[in-house]
Amino acid sequence: MSGPLIGYRGVVLTQAWAGAFCTELLGIMGAEVIQVEVRKRPDSWRGGYDAPIAARVAGRTEGQHSWNNSGLFNAVNLNKQSITLDLQTPEGMATFKRLLPEADFMAENFSPRVLGNLGIGYEDLRQIKPDIILASLSAYGATGPYFNVPGIGGTIEPTSGMSGLLGYEGGQPLNSGSMFPDPVAGWYGFSAILAALHHRERTGEGQYIDLSMMEANLTVVGEAALEYALTGQIRGPLGNRHRTFAPHGIYPALGQSEGGIGGHEQWIALAAESEAQWRTLCGIAGHPEWLTDARFADNAARKANEDALDGAITAWTATQPRDDLARALATAGVPAAPVFDALEVADDTVFRERGLITEVTHDEAGAWPQIGVPFRLARTPAAVTRPAPLQGQHTAEVLARFLGTTAEEYEELVRKGVTGSGPPD
């Protein structure tokens, strides 16, 4: 075992993406993360109890359950243990509270009213564990007129200003392909708990963290807010273009088929951010005449004639193999890369050799490549040591370890519906 957070522990109520990802990052860095799940209201990312199992996962092992075979849940809960407790029963809540003194941090991403309704708001937690760190990730934050309004990535993207900026040039606002605001909030929540741990190491004090997904995501597009404050300009979508540089785009490569849908995709991303990069690009393209073309004479001219420029580049890249061209440009100092689809990301040898992607064997879903360690620490390297947990997989073990719960007592809790797994009886 290694990682910078070895020795820290969280008992967390995180779910879906933002919260689950936040605590997954803590777990990957070495913290022990005990995720508390509620069978009556399963994590939406486990899918419904009757959801179909994806074709390539189905039938791999005996006794598969849909809620343990969701690609969404299993992607963002590495290095965690799962216990189930019904917090609306006195015994479930009492058990939860008995675990809290073992925790350095708690995290959750319910609507703000939920913790208070359960009687486990920050002040309640402090009574149990005075130096606890509590991170609450909610749609709009714990105060203000929208505090009780729920939200998910797909609705925070528009309300944080992101959707209004995402899209093809001159086109309608779009959401990202996979609810980008959630992992942004997750990264910030992870950072917040780390900053609080640093403060606690120095002072012994815990604290409360109020993360509004709307506010967190607005910082990521904050430059546009500052532009409005300074100039009154309201930006719209700019496609793959850049405010300053041209060329800057995603272009078809050899083998790209017409129509897109169902076709074979081969695209290359490339940009020139300096005159030197532009000269190199023209050389690799075998188009020295671009250097003397008045329309492309300098960056300002290229920006002014960007449609013509993109047309010329498209005519060239469409004849070139994607990966060879990307390598030629990028190794010569011109930003360029193949556009990978999801399966190409999983197969990428560079991501694998750097340890970003490793094979993880899940107890029901089998062995699959997964994205894990996000950055490399030379002295305290982190590692993926556990697959996403099955629902309630670790309840008996965790309760025995911390509370001395016997097998008989655990069975009694299952019989009463306080714990267990799968659809409630």
């Binding site: 910078p4 992607a75 200003g161 392909g177 780390l194 404050a229 897109g260 940009a271 890369a337």
Partner: protein, 379 residues
């Protein structure tokens, strides 16, 4: 007092990711000195520009945003005095940030120092020497392949979003190394690849694609299940997750048959039967204004998202009530309002003290605090 009030940082980066990392460190209390070359950091040449009313000078809005709360020194490494100042700054720093892909060490490393390298592809591996930027991170991480529409090219996120997220990742990486250092006094080298930070945010799409045996792809069209659709005065997203959101939203829109059809309560079922309800729902949504629809759904506690533009966000009553937008404290009120804290810490609050410095503005002050005390035997 910020959570990082005990931390001194030297920022030698020249990227948005590096600058956002050190901005966050500064916002949470660290003392951050940015080292710029004589011609100024390249971020200062990024468009769009605004004009300083008091001096008439043009300045980059991107740089104004990501360089706030820091001090700036200009150092010409070719000059002996400059090299000595740089060495002194690094000697007294707890954290050194670089964006140089060579990973070179500028001075003798101290065992208690955290040295964070922030580069497009990391310090080793077959792409280590490749040029990269925000756009290539979208391409390699898989995100571009799912953003946008099927009959159009893959689409990057807007602005510098990938670089900004990489900056958050580098901020977290720095904090992780500092927490380890808190316990044993030892620093370390940290290798942050911008592409890899963005790729972590693609993990659900990747694993679901693997389970399905085909890559998730761009949608053929925008509809209410995937993103914002037109309403009377703009666009609105009704991307529903839980069953009661569906029931309450359909009842509000007067589509009681859809509300009562229990099959639609499961999100996997709704995804598989989009054509059965999407046109009817969108037709009803189009009769509403975006804020009326948001308010009505909010009362029912249903997730919903009006597409807000920056003028609307700046005036938004919720953000105003939370006092989100903030002017730098030391600026005397002449600065524009900045977006505020990405998260609020009850014990160690986020704080925006100063606007972005002019290039080299703090040279004398930094020299006085870095070199002279060091000569006098400062730690």
């Amino acid at each position: 007092m910020g959570a990082l009030a005990d931390i001194r940082v030297v920022d030698l980066t020249s990227s948005i990711a590096g600058a956002w990392c050190s901005r966050l460190l500064a916002d949470f209390g660290a003392d951050v000195v940015v080292v710029e070359p004589p011609e100024g950091c390249p971020l200062r040449r990024l468009e769009p520009f605004a004009v300083d009313a008091s001096t008439g000078e043009r300045f980059s809005i991107a740089a104004a945003y990501v360089m706030a709360n820091k001090q700036s020194v200009v150092i010409d490494e070719a000059n002996g005095e400059g090299a000595a100042l740089l060495a002194a700054l690094i000697r007294r720093a707890h954290v050194v940030l670089t964006s140089d892909a060579s990973g070179r060490t500028l001075v003798e490393e101290r065992p208690d120092q955290v040295h964070v390298s922030i580069t497009p592809h990391g310090l080793d591996g077959a792409r280590a020497g490749w040029a990269g930027n925000d756009l290539t991170a979208w391409a390699l991480s898989g995100w571009a392949s799912v953003n946008g529409l099927a009959d159009r090219p893959p689409l990057k996120g807007s602005g510098s979003n990938a670089s900004m997220v990489a900056g958050i990742g580098a901020f977290a990486a720095t904090l992780a190394a500092l927490v380890a250092r808190d316990r044993d006094g030892q620093g370390q080298r940290v290798d942050v690849a911008e592409t890899e930070v963005l790729a972590t945010t693609f993990s659900p799409s990747m694993l679901r694609s693997l389970y399905q045996g085909r890559p998730e792809a761009r949608d053929a069209r925008v509809d209410m299940t995937t993103g914002p659709v037109p309403v009377r005065d703009g666009y609105f997203a009704l991307t529903i997750s839980r069953a009661h959101f569906w029931r309450d939203a359909m009842n509000l829109l007067g589509l009681t048959d859809l509300a009562e059809d229990q099959r639609f309560e499961a999100s996997w079922y709704r995804q598989q039967h989009r054509d059965d309800y999407v046109p009817r729902v969108e037709e009803r949504m189009a009769q509403w204004t975006k804020m009326d629809l948001f308010d009505a759904l909010a009362t029912l506690r249903v997730v919903a998202g009006p597409v807000l533009t920056m003028d609307e966000l700046t005036a938004n009553p919720h953000l105003r009530a939370r006092e989100y937008f903030t002017r730098p404290a030391s600026g005397g009120g002449a600065d524009p309002e900045f977006p505020g804290a990405p998260f609020r810490m009850s014990g160690t609050p986020w704080h925006l003290e100063r606007p972005a410095p002019r290039t080299g503005a703090d040279l004398e002050a930094v020299r006085a605090s870095a070199v002279e005390p060091a000569l006098g035997g400062d730690e």
